[in-house]
Structure formats: C-alpha cells, structure tokens
Symmetry: C2
Subunit: 447 residues, 2 copies
C-alpha cells in the first residue's frame, strides 16, 4: 500500500530538487548569523506544504522550528534537522558559487546540501508524498529543526527545557548520514561531544615593526608555545585529567566496529596521505576513530597573511580549537582543565575569549529501533546498514537521550566534503533517501 | 649663501607636500608587485623637475632609478631611497584611506609616507631648491632609488654588480630616520641583516571535517610544534649554531649606546606594555636592541579565520618568519641552519616555500662623515644627533659597505607607525628635513 507514495516520490523528484536548491540558496551561515530567519521561514513553508503543523519558536538565538502530524497512531517518529550551515570560506576553492546550487555529473553542489539541507528536504518530501497520495500515515510525525547546529546548538537546550513534552518519540532519525567509501549505506548511533574555544593573546596596543622583536613580546609566539603544550607529537593530549572520564567502548560496540571494513587504502587515497595519524591501522585505528577525544586547530591567525613578505610584530593572535569529547566527558569540566593547563604552564596571558559545546551521547547498538531502520534501508538500498556505534562528529544528541532513540541516516556520501569547499550530494542518494523514509514509516508500524 | 635655498624650501613647502601626496597615492606595495612602474615613473619626473639626470634601470624585478648631478666637485653625496611600500593591511585599522594621503593635526597620514616616500621627496625637493634659486651645488649628487626594499631588495645586487662604478661617494644618506620619543633627531649608522622565510605544511589533499582529527594529521599543529622548537620561552633561539657568528658590540659602540636615553617608560607606555621582553632594562635592554638577532612570526595562518566557529581540519598551514641578523651572520648560512633544525626535529614535512634576505652592515661610529651630518643637523634642529650604531631594522646597506659611508636620517618620528596602520609623519619634520639636506650639502664642502 506504500507503492503510490514511492511512485509519487519518483514522479516529483524534480520538485524536491527545486525545494532543496531554494533552501541552499539562502546563506544561513550560523557563525555569521545572517539569513537565519529567512531560512527558517522557507523551512516552515516546506513543512506546511506537506500539511505538517509547523511552529516557529523564538529563542535567544536562531529560532527552532517544530512540526507535527498527529494521526493518533501508537508510534511516533521524530526527525532532527537543522537549517544552518557552515561558513563557505575559502570561496576561491569552490568550482561553483556555494550559494547557487549547481548539478554536475549527477551531484548537486552547494554549501549545506549534504549538511543537512538535503536531509531536511528529503524528509519533508517523503511526508508530502503520503499527504499528496492520500496514503494514511501509520505513525505520528514530529520535526525538530534548529538553526545553530553548526555553532554548538547553544540555544537548543533553552527550547528543549521549555518543550519537554514534545521531545518524546519511539524512534528518531538524526540529521546526517549516507553511503560510505564503498557505496554502502551507513547508520550512526551516537555523536561525540564537543568543546569549541577561541584563544586570544594581545600583548601590544598596536602592531609594531618587526625589528622591535628583539625587545617586545610576540603574541603569535606566545600562542604557538601555548598550543604546543596541549599535545605531544604523538597527539597525546597533555592537559591534566583530560582523559579521566573517557568511557571505554563496550564489548558490543567493539564487536560492531571490528566488523566494519574501514577501507583504509581508499580513505588514505582520498585524503592524499601515506598513513593515518601515528600510522594507526586495523582495530587500533577504529578504536581511535570511534572513541578518541581530540584537540584540533580549526583556525589560527596572526599578522600578515597576504602575498610576499611584511615585516611586522603582530599585537594580537588567535586560534580556534575544537575538542571532540567521548561519552562521560563533560565540556564544562574540560573547559576548566584547559584554562588550568594554560595557567599552570604560565600562559595566563592566553585568554579563552569564548567557548561553546555539549557532551557526547549514543543509542545502544542493540536497540530494536536500529533493526527497524535497517529493514527499511534493506528494502530500498538492497543491503544491510553499516552500523557505527558513534560518529566521530558532534551534535546535540544528548538532549534527546532517554527520550528518543536516534539513528542517523541521510543523503550524503563519502565524497560529500561536508564543512569543506565543493560540498555535494548524489542526486540518486537524495532520491532513494526519500523512499527510505517512506518505507521506514511503514516499517515502524510493525515495531 | 645658502639662505635663498632655505627660503625657497619655506616658500614652496606646499608644492613639496603635493609631490609627496601624489607619490603616496600610488599603492606601490612591493609584496604585491602592482603599480611599481607607475611609482618609478613619478619618481623619475620628480628627479627631472630638479634637473637631476635620471635613468631607469630594468632588473628582473622592479626597476632601479639612478639620478646624478655632476658639477665637477671634489666630493659626492649619495642618497639611497626606495619607492616601494609595505602592504597596508589590515585596512580596517586605518582612520583614513592608506592610499589617499590626509593631513590631520600637523601630520600627514598615508602608507609609505614615513617609509620612505617622505624622505625621497624631501631630498629631491632640497636639490630642486638649489636649482630653482640658481645656487651652485658645492658637491656632486647621486641617487639610488630602488623598488624592492620592503621585500628584501632581491634584485638590487643585480643592479649594483652591473653599475659598480656608480656606487661610490664620500658620504651617503640612507633612507629612513627622524626624531625619537623625546623629539630629538636620531641618526642610524647601520642596519641588521634579515632572513625572511615562508614555512608551509600541507598534509591532506583537501580540508576535512574536524571530527577526523582523531585519525588524520593536522597541518597547523605540525607547524605550531615546529615553530615551538625554534625558541624557548625566554626567546633564546635554539637552532644549532644560530649565534655562532654574532659579532659582539665594539667598545666604541657600547660607549655610544650606553649614552643613549632609551626612555623606557615612555616606550613601554606607547606599546601598552608593563615590561619589555624578559623584563629587559638598562644596558642589557640596549644590548638586545642593537645587537640581538631575532626569530619573529610576521604572520601565521591556517583554517577558518572568520567569525564564530567552523569545525574544520585544515589541509594546509603557513607562517611568515623574519630573522634579524647582526654583523657577520650570513643569511644563507642561517637558512641552512633553519632547514637543518627542522629536519633534525623531525619536521621535514615543514617546507621553506621561499626566502629572501641579506647580511647586516654598519658605518663606524667614529667615521668623519658622521660629524658632518651631525653639524648639519645641529644647524637646523638645534641639538646634536642621537647616534645609534645600528638600527634594529634591516636594509641592503651591505651593498654600499666600503664604497659609501652611509648615515640614516629622515623625516619620521617615534609615532610614525612604520609598517603599521596609520603610518604618518610630522609636516614640520618633513619641512626641516629638507633644510637639513640643503645645509648638509653646504657642510660637505668643508669635509
């Protein structure tokens, strides 16, 4: 009885692509805070076009959108998505305008098309297919679509606390996912936590001629020395107590990851590397991937960055760092430890100008909803999902923990270049992902 | 008999300012290579307007201009200047357009006005005053005006080697100088050498989502670690053999610098610092200022530098470093030692993408030409010159060593913010500097 829904999806693929392009044209870069309401309003219109009862909730930051279709069914399926995107810089590395979507060789290129506007539109389109074909939805539907996922979901807790009754469902589909390097569809059951900090050093009232470096202090050098103390060259993080709360992988999780083919050679080739960090390989590589916290420089800047030489002693320097956190690590605790580490090593002049973050969370690998999603995937893609106990990436999954068992599947693929120039999706993945959502809705009634 | 010349300078000050403004409007940023010929051509026209026999010499880089007035006198005075300027970035810190000169409160603001277009124009204007008043020049005049001073004077040796006969004079006025923090005129008898290097690390074929930092190498972290090995936190440079060839200050030089009032409190206040590097003060501070080589970060850049957060693992990182070198240190030798240091510490992945530089040089503090310049200064400014055995800055003085005893005096002052936003000069210094050149020309006939 789901055939008309799948046929509708096939016949209206072009309309769904147009909806996606329209959403991608809005440069809703959360880090810059522009165009957020414009993007939220378009998402509202898309939800309403699928007869979803949509509401826009103001927060101290970008608005949160909820959507609901209550058909009085036993089961409820929730979607978590976001309408914000990462900055598109560096623009010059894009082959086409990041905010003017372009199809080339079966792929749609745009900032945010994979993360996660493509998912958002695919899910709304799937619901619309039920409505337009007068097919009864066998489950209730809920949407939570926020606008600050890419900047740490700072105001989502504010929304969740004010709307606790809404955050309840029998299964949930998280924002991202897709096919791996071997083309097989993957599901991610968890997300690492994150602490993002901006470090800043300012030692002079203004830049000086660099000849004065013989007698004046250097902000970039102070920053370099401070950053150098965070990790040794084997990437072991040297902040006191950093690893204290790391929860080891469970036996079930280890079993799950040891089964996964990491396709090391192909991944190395994709990134143009001879070996992974510290020559990691095999099970050890996987253990790092799924359960290592990190300390990473997302950006560092000071002084003259243009062509050629400029002999200046910069007054200021800054670095943007993200620490990925695994289960049981607390971002507030890590923030204190980072501050304490800087002070202990004599870097009280290195300020933490601002920070954001949240803890990790996982849905257990043996949760029955995981099987439901796997069945739906098999019906559409013809193979079992590759089950990852967690993504190495982050998201505010912890806010849903205990209320909605979340599984992350989506429209992306290994070559989607999420957060990077030339972000893209396969049109075919977008198309079949819509059908997978439709089939999942059917499968959920047997769950 | 020099009175008409000085009167002419007074009466035509506005024209000289207009000439200077015209030259400052040309954004001849050597690091970018734009507008170089345009600036050279204007300098040619200015020289010709002073009846100087000017020639433009093509090199593999920016052209070198020479000028000559041969009156058959015993003595020859040479001027070394440059028509290129430093980049004006960061533009947003300028209170007025760096390439649209503006006078505010007796100061003229523009990129390059102090370094060294103001000097160039003041010198040409002084010669013009002799010509326009039909005052016989008592010395022959030579100009060497290059266009790559701010990027290491890479092609000046090429010109010098082809024009060795020209590089000969009884005294020379180097490009820069002015008044110190106490308003007293200063002379600089030497220049440190410099090695400028651009370090680059590229470890991935493209930027990655930062979640992959658990298994992929980090270019910015490799660079941070590498830079961290160059110096300890007391600023001691740890490159093997770096200090091997440092020539200590002579007894005469020490005597000269111990006499200088460094005005520590006022300098600290100007830079907004509580203490100098490593709490240096007194004679030790001066010894560092005049005779310490440095290792300084002029710029460091990697990853996302915009507002807010972006979680990226950057594929590339770079740093621009300048090493100031004192007498007897060889930039080629230091370059080899930097490369050797990186390799020794396991940083063969950190490339030296390009480099430029030259050695230090000094005119002896007891050279008789220094006295001639001091007499001219006393007649115009009413006080003796503060004699610095060397500047902490750099310039290709080594090319003239043994051929022209150079003394550097100029139109700048302590607040000129050379190489920084809001570069400016005092109109009054510009005015009196022209007269000082006229008087110097007269004094030279008694030398």
């Amino acid at each position: 009885m789901i055939e008309p829904v799948l046929d509708y999806i096939d016949e209206n693929l072009d309309d769904s692509i147009e909806d996606l392009k329209a959403l991608c044209r809005i440069p809703s870069v959360a880090a810059k805070g522009d165009h957020m309401v414009e993007a939220a309003q378009l998402v509202m219109r898309l939800l309403e076009s699928a007869d979803v009862d949509a509401s826009l909730h103001r927060t101290s930051g970008a608005p949160v959108i909820t959507g609901e279709i209550n058909v009085g069914a036993d089961k409820t399926l929730m979607f978590y998505d976001h309408y914000d995107v990462q900055p598109a810089e560096p623009f010059e590395l894009w082959d086409s305008d990041p905010f003017e979507p372009e199809i080339r060789d079966g792929r749609l290129y745009a900032r945010g098309v994979a993360d996660n506007k493509g998912d958002t539109v695919s899910r709304i389109s799937a619901i619309k297919a039920f409505i337009e074909t007068d097919t009864k939805l066998p489950v209730n539907i809920k949407f939570v679509i926020e606008g600050e996922e890419e900047i740490g979901s700072e105001h989502l807790p504010e929304f969740i606390n004010a709307n606790k009754h809404f955050i309840k469902a029998d299964g949930g589909i998280w924002e991202f996912g897709g096919s791996g390097i071997d083309g097989k569809q993957e599901a991610w059951l968890g997300l690492k936590g994150i602490l993002f900090v901006q470090l800043e050093v300012e030692l002079l009232s203004h830049d000086s001629h660099s000849s004065n470096a013989c007698v004046l202090p250097s902000a970039p050098y102070r920053l370099v020395w401070a950053l150098g103390t965070f990790k040794d060259k084997t990437d072991r993080i040297l902040i006191d107590g950093f690893y204290d709360d790391v929860r080891p992988l469970s036996a079930e999780e280890k079993e799950a990851i040891y089964k996964i083919d990491f396709h090391e050679g192909r991944v190395r080739k994709f990134f143009g590397i001879d070996s992974f960090l510290n020559s990691l390989s095999g099970d050890e590589l996987k253990e790092h991937y799924y359960n290592s916290p990190t300390c990473n420089i997302c950006g560092i800047g000071s002084g003259y960055l243009g062509a050629g030489s400029k002999t200046v002693l910069p007054a200021k320097a800054f670095a943007k760092l993200d620490f990925r956190l695994v289960e049981d690590m607390n971002p507030d605790d890590i923030l204190k430890k980072v501050r304490g580490h800087l002070d202990k090593h004599g870097f009280s002049d290195v300020k933490i100008a601002w920070h954001e973050g949240y803890p990790a969370a996982k849905t257990p690998v043996n949760h029955p909803f995981v099987e439901v999603v796997d069945r739906a995937n098999q019906r559409v893609f013809g193979h079992p999902l590759v089950i990852h106990p967690t993504s190495p990436g982050s998201g505010p999954l912890y806010l849903f923990k205990g209320h909605v068992p979340m599984v992350s599947i989506g429209v992306g693929d290994f070559y989607s270049r999420v957060h990077s120039p030339n972000e893209s999706i396969l049109i075919d993945n977008f198309h079949r992902s819509m059908k997978r959502i439709a089939v999942l809705i059917e499968e959920m009634s047997n769950y």
